[in-house]
Amino acid sequence: MADQLSAGAATLRSLRGQRRRNRVRNLDWFEAAYRAYVTGIVALVAILVLSSWLGDKTPSPEGFADLHEHGPAAIGLMAAVALAIGLRSGSRGGPLAVEPAEVRYTLLAAVDRRTALIGPALRQVRFAAFLGAVVGAIGGILAWRRLGDSGFAWAASGALAGAAIALALVGAAMVASGLRIRPWLASLLGAAVLAWAVADVAGYVPAPTTTLGSLALWPLRVHLVDLLGVLGTLALVAAGITLLRGVSLEAAERRTGLVGQLRFALTVQDLRTVIVLRRQLAQDTPRNRPWVRLPGRGRFVVWRRGWHGLLRFPAARFLRLFVLAVAGGICLSAAYHGTTPLIIVGALLAYLAGLDAIEPLSQEIDQSDRADALPIDRGDLFLRHAAVPAVIAALVGLVGAATAIVINRTTESVELAAVLFLPAAWCGASGAIISTAMSAPDPFKDGQLLPPEVAGMKLAFRTAWPLIVALIGMLPVVAAHRANVAGNPPLPPAIQAAVGALLVAGLTAAWLRFREPARAWWKSFQEEGQQAAKDRQAAKQGSTR
């Protein structure tokens, strides 16, 4: 067997080399250069936007003091997020995503699994470190513009911290995967790491992840103890590589097919497919038996169908909805008290909750052939399907409102929460409905007759519009905040803005109902126009003869 193992390893090396040569030989260099060009342009635009947003004003002495005190823990929070994501990914078989054939022929062969996987694992480690270093260096340069001193020092410390944070993610994932940590345990560990880092940001207890944040601020002052964080990260990666032998084939095989599809769906901006695949990857699938069986037969079949689907939600999805609602309530409460940018986070959370809440409608849209076979108008059917999601979104909004009330504990907060929860929740759900009903953009249909610049803007608008609708639901909070700052009662402007937001939600429902007939009318109008033009042309030619 020893001979067989070493022969297997040598064969693996030589045959992988052969595959690499095959790939290089068949590589479309023009395509590769174009992809590099597009990536470069996107990165440049992102840097410019970020740079102009940050500005280059030197902070005040208080600002510097604040940076010294809270900066390391705040950046360390990013490392904690990376660790939590890594643990979750590893518990589902990540971070490696090998080809299906690799699972079938290499990992099932009589070859040591660590030998088989070490190549892909090291490639992933290298790539993560590179990407983290690049992002960190860019962050360092942006910090240098505001904080001064040596640009090289900022870039270098940013790169080191970025690489370490990226390696922490990959290392944590490899360890979780190698030890086959259960998803619930990984979530618990991730939450504990996050809570520790948040406690450090709040100034309660120092967290180890802060050392990585402190590393990014070395141009301000050097703490050699921060190197312990880097050593810890390297140890995590080394442990992950040592534990490669423990990778679960079941998780690897499930992941391998889904990750490829997920990347493709992301490339073509097919949000619905991304959601469905992500759920499969997380094994967030409907329960075989519902939590509660609906009694009787009932009159409203679409309404019942919606509840049948919702009552099969796995516990994790209900928990996610609850967490999103609580986080949304916290964001809106903070936005009302002056941290206005948090309405963007609140809108995003409402949108994400909406994507879960509209599941019965999304299922109907996924199975459009079935909808076409029914003797009901599609728009009418879709609108009926929106009823149950509206109830669920309202319940999610109520949880968010209750959170805001618990935080503030005033009569005013109760009144405001009662006015604001419905527009916030329904606009989030409306955004989700728009992005799901529009489905993925089709490059061959969308903007086919438009100049590329206009087509690009149309595509960008299409991507942003659902989030804008979700954001409209948050505007009553801004109206209330402004009135409060001006010394006026916040409720009347909040009610006015809430009515406007509810109108947007209503218009979304109307769009869902009448989209198909409107499209059909527009198409027939265009065809009639073309036919008339042809007839005119024919008549003209006839008269000339």
Binding site: D3, A109, D112, L249, E250, E253
Partner: protein, 267 residues
């Protein structure tokens, strides 16, 4: 063909499972020992031994506690209606799925461990291939990775027997369902094994392909390997001595094939 592959020999039906080297490497022993809590012992000489294995997907049980033993050189057919648990059992034996409970061992090693992988060849009902390797390159890869250096003549014979020798330099990802199935069969048979696990091998094959496969399976068995084949093919049921029927994840029958009512067992 422009390559220098050996031609299939006249009979093109030579056995393709040479004995494995017997020595165990330190890594193999370590890997086998790592996952070795086995309170009930496997019967001596059992090639495949499962004890009370179960599998659940979420809250859906796919396999009730199932205990199956397959001895060396035994040919067993696994039958059952759709969703009865045949594929789940085979994938667990191959190490692709982990049991929710119970123990499954192959040649004395836990399923999926290095020792078990060296003893088992698994042919799935859903063939997958590397996009950038031809049939011949796949055969080389699989055979050499499993420690066979003298693979070429056997590979040529297998391809000849299955009628795809002329397609050896083509990419199997471009093949039709039947050709993909034949390629997967060749890949499963070109490597050494003591136990061959095959899931629905006859699906998608033409009449000649089915006949060729039946002959190959007979030869594999005649040369000392054990077979566990999940199939609905009645002709194959008649060729083996033992039949295991699963119904809703539970064992419905385990015994001889003479005079059994196959249709009754799978309905």
């Amino acid at each position: 063909m422009s390559r220098t592959h050996p031609k299939p020999s006249a009979a093109a039906n030579r056995p393709t499972h040479p004995a494995k080297p017997a020595k165990k490497a330190a890594g193999a022993v370590k890997e086998a020992a790592k996952a070795a809590p086995a309170p009930p012992k496997a019967p001596s000489g059992a090639l495949l031994w499962s004890h009370g294995i179960t599998k659940t997907y979420g809250d859906l049980p796919a396999l009730a506690p199932l205990s199956i033993t397959v001895r060396p050189n035994e040919a067993v057919v696994l039958i059952g209606h759709n969703g009865s648990g045949k594929t789940t059992f085979l994938r667990m034996a191959a190490g692709l799925l982990e049991p929710s409970d119970g123990t499954i061992q192959l040649a004395g090693h836990d399923a999926g461990s290095l020792g078990a992988r060296a003893a088992v060849s698994y042919i799935s009902d859903n063939p997958t291939f590397y996009e950038d390797l031809s049939v011949w390159e796949h055969l080389e890869y699989v055979a050499r990775l499993n420690g066979r250096d003298d693979w070429e003549q056997d590979a040529a014979d297998l391809l000849g027997h299955l009628g795809i020798y002329e397609r050896a330099d083509d990419l199997p990802v471009t093949f039709s369902r039947g050709l993909r199935q034949k390629t997967a069969l060749a890949l499963g048979l070109v490597r050494p094994f003591d136990l061959l696990l095959i899931d629905e091998p006859f699906v998608g094959l033409d009449a000649a392909g089915k006949a060729a496969l039946l002959e190959l399976l007979d030869e594999v068995h005649a040369n000392g390997a054990a077979l566990l084949v999940a199939t609905h093919e009645l002709e194959f049921v008649q060729r083996v001595a033992r039949c295991i029927a699963l119904r809703d994840g539970e064992m419905a029958y385990d015994g001889g094939t003479t005079g059994i009512d196959v249709l009754g067992l799978v309905s």
